[in-house]
């Protein structure tokens, strides 16, 4: 038991954060985390020694989160997963301005990042967290969530795109950023030739 508790305690903040970020209902986070850890404790004999303990725990945590969110979904309106496709494209001057200096933009967004993150589907959230925060590979994420690798990549791409678009919408509405227009060379002038002559 001591060994199991030590292993859990080593990563407990990561595990708890995973539930905290994925649970739609914040009031059930403690219960979901507790039930996941206790379920792992009762089934610790099934864990193969030498395999990835974190991946094994994240699989249990992900299942518990899915179950909890399914219960929440019965009471709340379902999220629209296709919103990302209807939003405007990212190659806009606003996004170019964000990409030019992303750190201050994210600092200015503050908690809006979490608000935008909560708008993603559970699978998208899990994929982003497991990939970016927990640094799992695509295959490990696929094993944890029980889905194919291409599906993981799709969830990641859609989740990241939607997250960016949500933040851009917020930034445009609040005026945090201004569009960045790249200068274009006038017609009839060869920009490369001018740059070459300037270099000489």
């Amino acid at each position: 038991m001591d060994e199991f508790v030590a292993a859990i305690e080593q990563y407990r903040n990561q595990f708890y954060r995973f539930v905290y970020r994925n649970a739609w209902d914040a009031s059930v986070v403690d219960d979901v985390f507790s039930s996941a850890v206790l379920a792992a404790f009762e089934n610790r004999d099934r864990f193969t020694p030498g395999s990835n303990f974190r991946a094994w725990m994240f699989r249990i945590l992900a299942n518990k989160c899915f179950v909890a969110n399914r219960e929440t979904l019965r009471e709340c309106a379902p999220l629209d997963d296709d919103v990302a496709d209807t939003l405007p494209a990212l190659d806009t001057p606003y996004y170019m301005a964000v990409l030019a200096d992303p750190e201050p933009f994210l600092e200015q967004c503050g908690d809006e990042v979490f608000a935008a993150f909560r708008k993603l589907s559970t699978a998208q959230r899990m994929c982003i967290l497991l990939k970016d925060v927990e640094r799992f590979s695509y295959q490990e994420i696929a094993d944890i969530l029980g889905i194919p690798v291409p599906t993981v990549m799709t969830h990641l791409a859609r989740g990241r795109t939607r997250l960016r678009k949500e933040l851009l919408e917020y930034a445009r509405e609040t005026g945090i950023i201004r569009p960045l227009h790249r200068p274009r060379a006038p017609e009839g002038i060869d920009a490369q030739r001018i740059q070459g002559s300037l270099a000489q």
Partner: protein, 298 residues
Amino acid sequence: MNQPNDEWVWTRLDSTKPPSGEHIGNGPLSSEQRERLESERRFEEGLTNVLAKGGECPDAVWQAIRANMAKREEAPRSFLQRLTERRMVATLLAASVLVVLGAVSALSFLGVPESQAPPAPLAQIEALSLPALETPAPKAFGDHAPLASAFKQERANYVREKAKLEEELAAARASLGKLEQERDAVVAERDEAKTKLQEMEQDVQVARSQTKALMGDLARARSNHKALTTEVSELRQIAGLLGFDIEPGSTESGDSAAEDHAQVLSMTLPARAEESPSVMALEIPNVDSPAKSAESGK
């Protein structure tokens, strides 16, 4: 960004190939793409840092979980032990009762003589002290002769019933054999009748063809007779013209021949053989042979 052409950004960002298997991200990047990728990487790292902040597990929650784990670590063993003990006791009791009852019933059905039948099972039943066995009539259990006699009687009844049923079975089998023989005889008769019927049909066909031939002959004879009669009358006329007087019926054939001749000529001839009532009225079972049927056709 979420279009397939932008896939290279995420695959480069995660340093993996795209799901389609194309080597979009393996080639050298242009300066613009490199700049974009670097910006996306910084953006993603910034997002990751934000998402990785906060959400630490509260100590109270962790302590509660540890306490719960400790409680479960201790509780299951005692509970399982208790459960196992209860199950074992119940299983032993049920097994002993079943063994005793099985032994008693086996002895009774096998009809073991009283001298060989061990009284131990009945003693065990008494030892069980079940409410039903505590009621009066304990003498029956002390000496199980009534039970044995009853079972013997039952066995004798069974033997009698068995013998009776075997007799009935043998009778039924015998009657079945007789019925099968009768059935075979009937089948043979039927086959024979079929054969006879086919022969009769063939006879009728032959008779009909012969009747047709005879009718043709008769028609030809009549036409010949008519021609001859005409010739005779002409010859008589010629003879009259020549001065000879030839009277009718003065031929060498005589009177009886003339009568037969007139009778034949007076016969009514059917137009077709099928219209002959004597032929068509033939009944197949009455036909004995082709020759007779031909005669009746005439």
